[in-house]
């Protein structure tokens, strides 16, 4: 199972890198989204994909699932959704204001005006 997850994470990172290297704003944003999803999956996998009961002290199960990675990705997912939505709004606004979504054209010029 861990092996399969590693391959999935690798594919996600690959797609993210490809998308983030393109010039179009919206592709870059989708790339950052995929990248953070890959990172979240990585957290889940790195804790070890143990099966078992819910981690309650009173419950006398043979094995327990590790709660920490789940708590971590929950936080990380919320943060990444927040940032992504902010980024989407910003991209839309700057498309209106600057008239382009091409990162090539959004370069700083010599005087940075």
């Amino acid at each position: 199972m861990e092996l399969l997850m590693a391959i999935v994470i690798g594919i996600l990172f690959m797609c993210a890198t490809y998308l983030m290297l393109s010039k179009s704003m919206i592709r870059i944003i989708i790339g950052t989204g995929l990248l953070s999803h890959g990172a979240h999956l990585l957290i889940l996998t790195m804790g070890g994909l143990k099966g078992g009961s819910v981690p309650l002290l009173s419950d006398k199960a043979a094995s327990y699932a590790d709660p920490l990675p789940q708590a971590l990705i929950l936080t990380a997912i919320v943060i990444s959704f927040g940032v992504t939505s902010f980024l989407l709004v910003l991209a839309y606004r700057s498309y209106q204001e600057l008239g382009t979504d091409d990162m090539e054209e959004l370069r700083g010029t010599e005087t940075n005006e």
């Binding site: 983030m20 704003m25 870059i28 950052t32 990248l35 953070s36 890959g38 990172a39 979240h40 990585l42 957290i43 996998t45 790195m46 804790g47 070890g48 920490l68 990675p69 971590l72 936080t75 990380a76 943060i79 990444s80 927040g82 940032v83 992504t84 902010f86 980024l87 910003l90 991209a91 606004r93 700057s94 204001e97 600057l98 990162m103 959004l106 700083g108 005087t111 940075n112 005006e113």
Partner: protein, 493 residues
């Protein structure tokens, strides 16, 4: 257990929430933020003195004991940086009243300002690696809003790049946390340190250490990862720029302090040598930028990068004088960078241009501004009685003790270049014939000059009173050099 430990984070949170509800009443917002930042200074001073008398203070959030729950840890380094943050926050707030403009004030400038302070103070005080990530995000989210607030073309353009770079580094942070968790099975900094000591830092942990260096280096703008900084810091209005320049990069440096002294200190031949080389290259790049530009903002922005290099170099040497030097220097640099940004803000306001070749002869009309700038400039370069000197001297001593003469030469040389770059501003801006008609009182500078002069005065006091500060600094260094103190305080063994 002391609830005081978390108060520097809760207080701005409370203020920020209150301010959101008063969005339309600008005057009230100003008074509340000012009052709140005064209380913030009092709280953090009390924190510094408590840590001084009682040792490291910890708080297990929600009464969960250390390795299981999130801990908030105030050691001396964190407490001193929180105090500095609050002082700078107040000065920049005062400056904002005059310069930020009603439009930005109406659009939640002051609440977001408080949220930035939450993130910065929280990042200094947390004792849990994942919690550090969360506070980083709080700080970054506030910084995105501050950067784009106003929505001019340059701001929108630079914010896009800034956010993308930071999203990338946040993902990296999460990835590195995942790897560290898989190797050590914990995220509590004290417990991480303990477990690394047990396994004596095998190669995989050195790789993770470099991974964390990439993450924090992106935030702190060290050598190959600084390119986003000159553009992004150029775009926002002066108070925001001062806030970023004084606080944001320093949070990255603080995290390097923490990780490289508390956790990854066993394989110094690899990690710390790597750090030293990056520091030297950072200084070099910063120097080239600082002397190449004619734009006041650009010159000061590249000076941030030089200071980052100097502080990181002190960390990489890792002996007692160098670390005390780094701590002295980071506090000095926060104060003086904020002051310099505020001062060049006034110069830009008077002359209407950011190019020093368009300025000139301001000393006749604005002598107070000129001399404040002069003191700030020589403090920055580290001329003896002023702040910056003691820190740099100790870093040099430490480097001499460790036999790193190349680094020593670079730090010394960089001081000269820093002096040259700021004196260039002074000579072109204040001497010579006036390029424009600066009539007396055409621009009322006194109210803007006050916060800058306040910061310069504090930094002068800090420089002259190094002797008084030294017990605090040495207490901070003691914790950094002996991670056992930190581990014992957090895990209560």
């Amino acid at each position: 257990m002391s609830n005081l430990t978390f108060l520097p984070v809760l207080w701005p949170l409370f203020t920020g929430i209150l301010l959101i509800f008063l969005a339309k009443k600008i005057t009230l917002q100003r008074w509340i933020s000012l009052f709140s930042s005064l209380i913030g200074i009092v709280i953090s001073m009390y924190l510094v003195f408590s840590v001084h008398s009682q040792g490291i203070l910890t708080l297990g959030v929600g009464s969960w004991e250390a390795p299981f729950g999130i801990v908030i840890v105030a050691d001396m380094l964190a407490a001193l940086l929180v105090l500095t943050t609050n002082i700078i926050g107040m000065a920049i707030l005062l400056y904002s009243f005059r310069t930020i403009g009603a439009e930005r004030e109406r659009h939640y400038y002051y609440p977001v300002f408080q949220f930035l302070l939450i993130g910065v103070n929280g990042a200094f005080l947390t004792g849990d690696l994942f919690n550090l990530f969360v506070f980083f995000e709080v700080m970054l989210m506030a910084s995105y809003v501050l950067l784009v607030l106003g929505g001019t073309k340059i701001q929108l353009r630079e914010s896009l790049k800034y956010i993308i770079v930071n999203v990338l580094s946040s993902s990296f942070f999460v990835i590195m946390v995942a790897y560290l968790y898989s190797v050590l099975g914990t995220l509590n900094m004290a417990q991480i340190s303990q477990r690394i000591e047990e396994v004596n830092q095998p190669a995989i942990l050195s790789v993770i250490a470099i991974g964390f260096l990439i993450v924090f280096g992106l935030k702190g703008a060290i050598f190959p990862l600084f390119q986003w900084l000159p553009g992004s810091y150029y775009a926002p209005p002066i108070p925001v720029m001062a806030l970023f320049g004084a606080l944001l990069t320093k949070v990255g440096i603080y995290s390097i302090f923490r990780t490289y002294t508390l956790m990854f200190y066993h394989d110094q031949d690899f990690t710390h040598t790597f750090l030293a080389w990056l520091a030297i290259l950072t200084i070099l790049i910063g120097v080239i930028g600082a002397i190449a530009y004619w734009d006041v903002k650009k010159i000061i922005i590249y000076n941030i990068i030089i200071a980052v290099g100097v502080i990181i170099f002190g960390i990489s040497v890792m002996n007692e004088p160098a670390l005390s030097g780094s701590i002295l220097y980071i506090i000095h640099d926060m104060l003086i960078k904020a002051a310099l940004f505020l001062l060049i803000g006034i110069m830009i306001k008077i002359s209407g241009s950011t190019d020093i070749r368009q300025m000139g002869g301001m000393i006749k009309q604005y002598p107070a501004l000129a001399w404040t700038f002069f003191i700030a400039a020589i403090s920055l370069a580290g001329i003896p009685p002023f702040s910056g000197f003691a820190g740099k001297l100790l870093i040099l001593q430490g480097a001499g003790k460790a036999g790193d003469y190349l680094g020593m030469a670079m730090v010394l040389l960089s001081s000269l270049m820093v002096l040259y770059s700021v004196m260039k501003i002074f000579i072109y801006g204040f001497w010579g014939t006036p390029k424009a008609d600066y009539r007396e009182g055409a621009v009322p500078v006194n109210k803007m000059l006050f916060p800058a002069a306040f910061l310069v005065a504090i930094s002068v006091l800090y420089g002259v009173g190094t002797e008084f500060m030294y017990p605090f600094i040495s207490q901070a260094v003691e914790t950094l050099l002996n991670p056992d103190i930190y581990i014992k305080a957090v895990l209560k063994e």
